[in-house]
Amino acid sequence: MNLAILIPLLPFLGFLINGLGFRRIPKAAVGLIGTGAVLGSFAIVLSLFSGFTGTAQVVPVYDWFTVGDFNVSFGFQIDQLSLLMMLIITGIGSLIHLYSIGYMHHDEGFGKFFAFLNLFVFFMLLLVMGSNYLVMFIGWEGVGLCSYLLIGFWNKNPEYGYAARKAFVMNRIGDLGFLIGIFLIVARFGSLEFASVFPAAAQLQTGDAGLFWITFCLFIGAMGKSAQIPLYTWLPDAMAGPTPVSALIHAATMVTAGIYMIVRSNVLYTLAPETLHIIGWVALATALLAASIGLFQNDIKKVLAYSTVSQLGYMFMGLGMGAYTSGFFHVMTHAFFKALLFLGAGSVIHAMSDEQDIRYMGGLRKKLPITFTTFLLGTIAISGIPPFAGFFSKDEILAHVYEHSPLMWGLAVFGSMMTAFYMFRLLFLTFFGEFRGTHEQEHHLHESPLTMTLPLMVLAVLSVIGGFFNVPEILGGTAKLEQFLDPIYQYARQANPEAFAGVHLDHSTEFMLMGVSVAGAVISIIAAWVIYISRKSVPAPDEQVSGLQQVIYRKYYIDELYDAVFVKPIQALSRFFYSVVDKGGIDRFGVEGVGRFVKGLANEFRLLQTGATGFYVLMMVTGIAVILVYSLRSLIFG
């Protein structure tokens, strides 16, 4: 048996053990099994990674189903891209499992939580390991299920349940797009295997109409899973789930599945420049919209959630420019610092007795020194300050954007300034100034246990050094990631070599671009410092927010808009169909019409008006018998 099969199997076994045995297995064992399963997978991934020769390998498991010539096999593809994703999923996954041992310790659903978390890792691994689009789709829908289960984890709260359903349904809208993309791929290429589709696609022309629809439909899927306009509103609501879930699923891994899918399909997208164009603009709009909402949010997790939506926008922006590696690089660094920030927020919430509103925090750096230090590092990393991880990955994207369109670049830099502002606003309000919560909360303040702070420290280190995986040549690096990932663009390069020519900017322009974005970030940080440290401003209570700020604070009323345009009309339609069309229309004139017709006949024979059902039945059966016999008799004797 190939070792690769064990990678998803271990978390699945963990799910089965904790899932079937929950409430009977002691907590210590639950945590050990859950974390150990993912850690075991991580170890196997590491060994595969270190022994990787550079050639993609397909590991068939079994034939899933066959209809006519259409055969779908269940198999895994081990190559550069899937290995990196597996490293992120199992590596960060292990840290977050470890963290959860401390974070969820007092929760009665401890076993259930670990079971779901393991199940998530299983499906996420299928998503990135699948050797064809349908195995990817299994993972795709499976992680959606786990996301649903974990958002609604505290199921007594109906609002959480609503958030969970919203996430599932919005994802399903995207999934329909994905499914249609799959049908189009089968119709065009006769297979869903990457190894058959991509070489065949490389023979096609740039601008092929069929490829436009395939890539566009797949992108609809990506919009749902990776929270892009217009399918993003589920992600901020998904914060209803326990914080480790937000870190793992709604920041580091699942939400980047859309980027993975497009990088995986790079040959298709390279040949569909119109789709890339659409992706670029959707991504930019998402990045800006979400960042602006983030400016005024007061819930520590909501700020991070909008930040995630916005950062996903940056990743897609990279893809839209055809700079797949840049987009993917940002997936990696973002996984480090956003997981860190969420776990840090969790540590804060844990210390604050479940308080999430930053207006009631303040001054926590003294009581939570490790959380503070690591959170600070994460904040610097996301703000794009060199030499932290976010700087390298974001700057690479921005350079590609500049080459494509200076206007888009300007807007994107504006977005990254907003990022630096809302992140430092969050940091200052949480950790600096005076404590603004209740005495009771103040009394309880404590640094989290080692199971929680250890993951913070590891992720903090990664957030600091993560950028060095792909230092560009201009800064004296060797672009390691770029080189490592190079083979996965083999077919795209064959089909359209120009698309992979790299950035053509001269060095002075590149330095200028970096300078501008770093300066922008620094200005934002100073502004945040002045407002929240020097002037000690605290965001106003909800009812005092007004004007434009109110519109943004209320998230531009997009949720209300969707409710009015989609939800309410469908509910009204449902009632209309049921009471008017079904009961009032079809049933009365159609079915009961038949009934009246029969009763009318019965009226002719008043004898039949007995009302005894048995008698009616008898008559019907007799009737059938008479007709049958009559027709047969005429056949026999006629």
């Binding site: 409430r23 899933w64 189903f65 066959t66 209809v67 006519g68 259409f70 789709f137 299994i138 829908e141 499976g142 299920l145 649903y148 609604g152 199921n155 007594k156 709260n157 109906p158 349940g161 969970a164 359903r165 599932f168 349904v169 399903r172 809208i173 999934d175 329909l176 499914l179 249609i180 049908f183 089968v186 119709a187 469908i570 509910q571 339609l573 449902s574 009632r575 169909f577 049921y578 079904d582 009961k583 079809i586 049933d587 159609g590 079915v591 009961e592 038949v594 009934g595 029969v598 059902t613 009616y616 039945v617 019907m620 059938i624 007709i627 049958l628 027709s631 047969l632 056949l635 026999i636």
Partner: protein, 481 residues
């Protein structure tokens, strides 16, 4: 002989039951249905997946008229045999905690119903098919009318009249087809395949046959008997209706309609696909606001059947294979869901989502099974529903991309109404109605475990079933070309 035994075992057992009294009735009924299932399983293992009719048996019924008692099993029949023999023991077991008045009649009628259903799926003679098709109605009518809810009389009467009304068209069509056969006439279904019917003949024959099957399934707009009947019938009857009986309609389409009037299908297929797809969207949208869980599942079943029908009329291998595996999957899921509703009702005396909530706090085991069945129903990959829906949608999409997209909304709407049902019953705060809820007992677990295993087994290894039916389906499609 084995095929005949499949019809006779439940029939004889039904006779025996009438003579029994007391607690033995249930057990004998269960044993009989298990023997039946065992026999069907043997047939399943002994079946060679090719185009032939196996385990066949025929003797003259009305010799001078060429009417035969001809039965046999081909790839399409075997799947439905498995479904009907598998579900009946589970349905019987699901009643073990419930005492129905006059149990010997109750269980005798269930087994008689099974005999008729098996008869439909193995009949090779058109009149024999018709006979069983109608015979199945009588026991289910009595079960619903005698053991049903408050409005049972009016509702079951409507159901009875309406379905009989539809079947009369089929009888008319069958007699006409019979008269077209050469020589001394033959009523073998295969003889009908050989007829050279004009386009005009096929056109009206198409509708005569279609209406009969469309009412049974049901297809929009012939469906309005269905939600009321499902709600008013006692749950075992609802399970029989939704799990097995509606497949008589889809089976009839494949066995009779497509091969006998292929030109009629080409002429009217688009209309039927559009009606079916309207049914998917319409049924799903209605389900979104239902408060009665049973009615909600009824409308969801109606929506699912619409997709099966559309897939059949796409005349693609994907569509037909998808519809067959979906018949199996839907039978399992819908029986499971109705059973969950019954479990909730038996403890709370309510199926109203406004009165329910928080059940999972008392019954984690029940909620796990509920969610597994829901996953099958919303077609999550690796569950049984996915294979069917994927192939059906692929077939419909191949037929026409835009119709395929509209049909595809089922995956979104299905999630909306089923998850709402889970939320309002299982999650949230407890209500006065659900405070005293007790988790599932052993009998209930014994029903739910096989269903849950099947949800995943079919989802993981669909080839076991697809390979069984493919030769017969491919042969059918070749004959249509």
């Amino acid at each position: 002989m084995l095929t005949l035994a499949l019809i006779l075992i439940p029939l004889v057992a039904a006779g025996v039951l009438l003579a029994l009294r007391g607690g033995a009735v249930k057990r004998v009924a269960l044993i009989a249905s298990l023997v039946e299932f065992g026999l069907a399983t043997y047939l399943f293992t002994a079946f060679r997946p090719d185009t032939s009719s196996q385990f066949a048996l025929s003797f003259d019924w009305i010799k001078s008229a060429g009417i035969q008692f001809a039965i046999g099993v081909d790839g399409i029949s075997i799947l439905l045999l498995l479904l009907s023999t598998l579900l009946v023991p589970l349905i019987i077991l699901s009643t073990f905690h419930h005492s129905y008045k006059n149990p010997s009649s109750f269980y005798a009628l269930i087994l008689a119903m099974q005999a008729a259903l098996v008869g439909v799926f193995v009949a090779k003679d058109a009149f024999l098919f018709y006979f069983f098709f109608e015979a199945a109605l009588i026991p289910i009518y009595f079960i619903a009318a005698l053991w049903g809810g408050e409005n049972r009389i009016a509702v079951t009467f409507k159901f009875f009249i309406y379905t009989i009304f539809g079947s009369l068209f089929m009888l008319l069509a069958l007699v006409y087809l019979y008269l077209q056969t050469p020589g001394t006439h033959s009523s073998l279904i295969s003889a009908f395949y050989e007829l050279n019917l004009s386009a005009a003949q096929q056109s009206w024959l198409f509708w005569a046959l279609f209406i009969a099957f469309a009412i049974k399934m049901p297809v929009f707009p012939f469906h309005t008997w269905q939600p009321d009947t499902y709600v008013e019938s006692p749950t075992p009857a609802t399970m029989l209706l939704a799990g097995i009986m509606l497949k008589m309609g889809t089976y009839g389409l494949i066995r009779l309609l497509l091969p006998v009037v292929p030109e009629g299908v080409h002429q009217w297929g688009t209309v039927v696909i559009i009606l079916s797809v309207i049914g998917i969207v319409y049924g799903s949208i209605i389900a979104i606001q239902q408060q009665d869980m049973k009615r909600l599942v009824a409308y969801s079943s109606f929506a699912h059947v619409g997709l099966m029908s559309a897939g059949i009329f796409s005349l693609t291998l994907d569509g037909l294979q998808g519809s067959l595996i979906q018949m199996l999957a839907h039978g399992i899921n819908v029986v499971g869901l109705f059973f969950i509703v019954e479990i909730i009702f038996s403890r709370t005396q309510s199926r109203d989502l406004r009165q329910l909530g928080g059940i999972t706090q008392h019954s984690p085991v029940l909620s796990v099974f509920f969610i597994i069945l829901v996953l099958g129903s919303v077609a999550l990959p690796l569950t049984n529903g996915f294979i069917g829906e994927f192939l059906l949608l692929k077939g419909v999409f191949t037929y026409n991309a835009w119709i395929g997209v509209v049909a595809g909304t089922t995956i979104i709407l299905g999630a909306v109404y089923t998850l709402r049902m889970v939320q309002k019953s299982m999650f949230g705060l407890q209500t006065a109605t659900t405070e005293q809820f007790t988790d599932v007992n052993t009998n209930e677990i014994l029903v739910l475990i096989p269903l849950a295993i099947l949800v995943f087994w079919i989802g993981l290894f669909p080839n076991v079933f697809l390979k069984l039916t493919e030769p017969a389906v491919a042969d059918l499609l070749r004959s249509l070309k």
